[in-house]
Amino acid sequence: MDRVLFGDNQFFGVNHMSEEKARTQAMRFQHIGAVIEVLEDAYAEGIRTFMCTTHQRMSEVCDHFRTHREKYPGYKFYPCLPYAHKYANAAAELGVLGAIRSFLPQENALGALLKGGMSLARKDIEGLAELLVGAELKMFQGLDTPIIFLQNVATDFLLGLGFDEAFKIFADCVRERYQAEAGFITMNAPLLLKRLEKVGIQNPIICANINKIGFRMCGGMQAYDEMITQGRCRLIAMSVFASGALPPKEALEYVCGYPQIEAIVFGASSRRNIAQTKQLIDGLTQGR
C-alpha cells in the first residue's frame, strides 16, 4: 500500500464544512475532464492510488485510465462501494427489495437475472452480495484494484445490526472473485476491529477518521490510540484535517506521529494543496 492515497469527496459535492463550498466544487467538477486534470496533478506529485466511490460518474474516469494506460504506469484504484445515496434514494422510491432488484445486473443477463432472482428468493446473501459487488465493480474492469473497500455507511450499518457475517462474506467475495483484499471504512474503528477479528478476519485493512480533534472518531480518542498502537490492523487515516478544522502541518504531525498508521488518504482540488500535503507527509514520514 502506498503511503499517500488520493480521495474523491471533493469531486462529488461532499464537503463537511460548507454546502456553498460543496456546490462550488460540484460545478467545477461537472465535466470529468476537470477531475482527470486534478488526478494528473496528483500523479505528477507522485500519488499513484485513487480511492474512489462507485459513483456512476466514476466510470468516465475509469474509461480514461483504461484508454491511456501507458500514461500512468503503476496506477491503482481502491474502489469503495456501495455508492450509498443511490441505494437510499432507490429504497425510498421502490422499497428495500425493489432497490436491490433495480441494481442487479441488467445486461448479458439472463443468467445473472436468474441467479439474482434465485439469490433473492433463497435469501442467499453470499450470492446476492456477489451480484451487487459485481454490478458496482463493473466499471473498474481491466484496472488494477488491489484493495476493495466497503463504504462506512454500509460497514457501520451492518456493524450496528450485529450482521458481522456480512464482513466475512464481503472479504471472501472480493478475494475469490477479484483477487483483491477487502478494506473497511468506518467511523467506529475500535468496535469494528473487534467484530472483524470475531469473524476471523485477522489484521484487517481499516480506513477511519484519525485526527487531532477526535472528529468522528466514535469510541473516543483513547480507544483509537489503543487500537492504533496495538498494531492489530492495517490503518488508513482519513479526515486527517477534520474537514479543514485543523491547519495542515499540525494535522499531519499528529497522524504521522503514529508509525503504525500505514497510509493517509486526502482529497484536494489544487496542485498547490496536493503538493503541499504530499510533501508534508513525505517529510514527516522520512523524519521518523
Partner: protein, 363 residues
C-alpha cells in the same frame, strides 16, 4: 428508517434489543438468520410476549397512532418516527395519554439534534440579533424525480407527500427555534412529478408582533445530493444563516455578555460545534436522538422532540393544507375601457386586486 434505528439502538450500550416486528418476512428471516434477533410479524403478539421497556415505531405514518396507542397502554416508553400522528387531534390525545402515564414520548425530528441548529437556538434565545422580524426556512432535495413510485410515500392516504415529510422537518425546526406560528397564509401545495401528492410547498408564516416567515420546500430538486435544510433569520441587530454544516451570524452591535464573537460576520462550523457520539452510522443527530431517548427514560426528563411538539408541527402542516384550498387574489387584465375583465380561470370567490385598484383610481 426502521433498520437504521435498529442498527443504532442495537449498538447503544444501555439498550438490549429484544425483538423486531415487520410485515416483510423476507427481511425478518435474514435478520434472524444473521443477527440472531427475535422477530415478529404482529406487533400485538410482540407486546404480549416480550418483556419490554420501550419501543421504536417506524411504520408508515398512518399506522403510528394505532401502534403508539397499543404501546402506551402496555406502559412502554415510545420513540415514534415523524411526522407522528397525521391528525392533530389524535396526536394531542396521545400526548395527553403518554403524559398522564408518565411515559417518555419522543418523535424522530432529528434536525433538533444537529449542533449548528442548536447553536442558532442558543444565539436566538440570547437575542443576539435583536428583535426578529423575518425567518426563511428552506428544504430541498432529491426524493421524487420522476412520475412513478410505488411506496406509501407517494400516496396521500398513507401520509405521503412533501408536506408531511420535508415540510414537517422545516416547520418543526421553526417551531423549535422561534416558536409555533400563529397563522399561515398564501400556501401553495404543488405537484412537480407526483400524481397523488404534493412535491413542493410554499407558505407565509405569521408569529405576531411584526415577525413573519416564509417556508419553501421541494423534494424534487436533483441539484441537491441529499436533503438540505437552511434557515435565515433577520433581526433588528443582525442576521443568522444556518444549515447542518455551518452557522453564519452578522452582528450589528455586539452584546457585552457574548464571548467569542465579534461585530460583523462570524462563522461556526459543525466540526467545532458537534459533540461526539458513541456510535456513528449516518450523521451524529441520528445517534444523538436515540441516546437522548435513553437519557430521558433514565432521568424521567421530557424529550426535546416529543408527542406534543410533533403534534404542533402536524397542526401547522394540516393548516397549510387547508390554507392552500383558500381563494387567491387574482390579477386581472384591464379591458379596453380601462375596467377589469374577469379572467376565465378565476374562481367566484377570488377577489380582484387589480380590478379594485383600477376602480378605486377612477372614483
Amino acid at each position: 428508517m426502521g433498520l437504521s434505528h435498529q442498527s443504532i439502538a442495537n449498538a447503544h450500550p444501555e439498550i438490549e434489543l429484544k425483538a423486531v416486528c415487520d410485515t416483510s418476512s423476507y427481511v425478518l428471516d435474514i435478520l434472524a438468520k444473521y443477527t440472531g434477533v427475535k422477530t415478529y410479524t404482529d406487533y400485538k403478539k410482540m407486546f404480549a410476549e416480550e418483556a419490554l421497556d420501550c419501543v421504536f415505531v417506524a411504520t408508515p405514518s398512518r399506522y403510528h397512532a394505532e401502534v403508539v396507542t397499543a404501546a402506551l397502554e402496555r406502559g412502554l416508553h415510545v420513540f415514534c418516527e415523524k411526522p407522528f400522528a397525521l391528525d392533530p387531534s389524535s396526536g394531542y390525545l396521545l400526548a395527553a395519554l403518554a403524559e398522564s402515564k408518565g411515559l417518555v414520548n419522543q418523535v424522530g425530528y432529528h434536525y433538533r439534534f444537529i449542533a449548528a441548529f442548536n447553536e442558532a437556538k442558543r444565539l436566538l434565545d440570547l437575542k443576539v440579533i435583536g428583535k426578529l422580524h423575518h425567518v426563511r426556512v428552506e428544504a430541498y432535495g432529491p426524493v421524487v424525480l420522476r412520475p412513478k413510485g410505488s411506496t406509501w410515500r407517494s400516496q396521500k392516504s398513507e401520509g405521503g407527500g412533501c408536506l408531511f415529510d420535508y415540510a414537517c422537518h422545516a416547520i418543526d425546526l421553526v417551531n423549535y427555534l422561534v416558536g409555533r406560528p400563529i397563522s399561515v397564509s398564501g400556501t401553495v401545495l404543488n405537484s412537480v412529478f407526483s400524481s397523488d401528492v404534493d412535491d413542493e410547498i410554499y407558505s407565509t408564516l405569521q408569529f405576531g408582533d411584526g415577525f413573519y416567515g416564509q417556508l419553501a420546500t421541494n423534494w424534487s430538486d436533483e441539484s441537491f445530493r441529499k436533503m438540505s435544510v437552511k434557515l435565515s433569520f433577520w433581526g433588528d441587530n443582525g442576521r443568522i444563516n444556518v444549515d447542518r454544516q455551518e452557522l453564519q451570524i452578522y452582528i450589528r452591535t455586539l452584546p457585552e455578555s457574548l464571548e467569542g464573537f465579534e461585530t460583523g460576520w462570524n462563522t461556526r462550523y459543525t466540526t467545532e460545534l458537534t459533540a461526539p457520539v458513541w456510535f456513528y452510522v449516518r450523521g451524529e443527530e441520528y445517534s444523538a436522538q436515540i441516546d437522548h431517548f435513553v437519557h430521558c427514560i433514565k432521568t424521567k426528563a421530557t424529550p426535546l422532540s416529543n408527542f406534543r411538539s410533533a403534534t404542533d408541527t402536524s397542526l401547522v402542516a394540516s393548516l397549510m393544507r387547508t390554507d392552500a384550498e383558500k381563494p387567491r387574489t387574482a390579477i386581472e387584465s384591464p379591458n379596453e375601457q380601462g375596467g377589469a375583465a374577469a379572467s376565465p380561470s378565476s374562481k367566484p370567490a377570488t377577489r380582484s386586486l387589480l380590478g379594485r385598484l383600477f376602480n378605486a383610481g377612477r372614483s
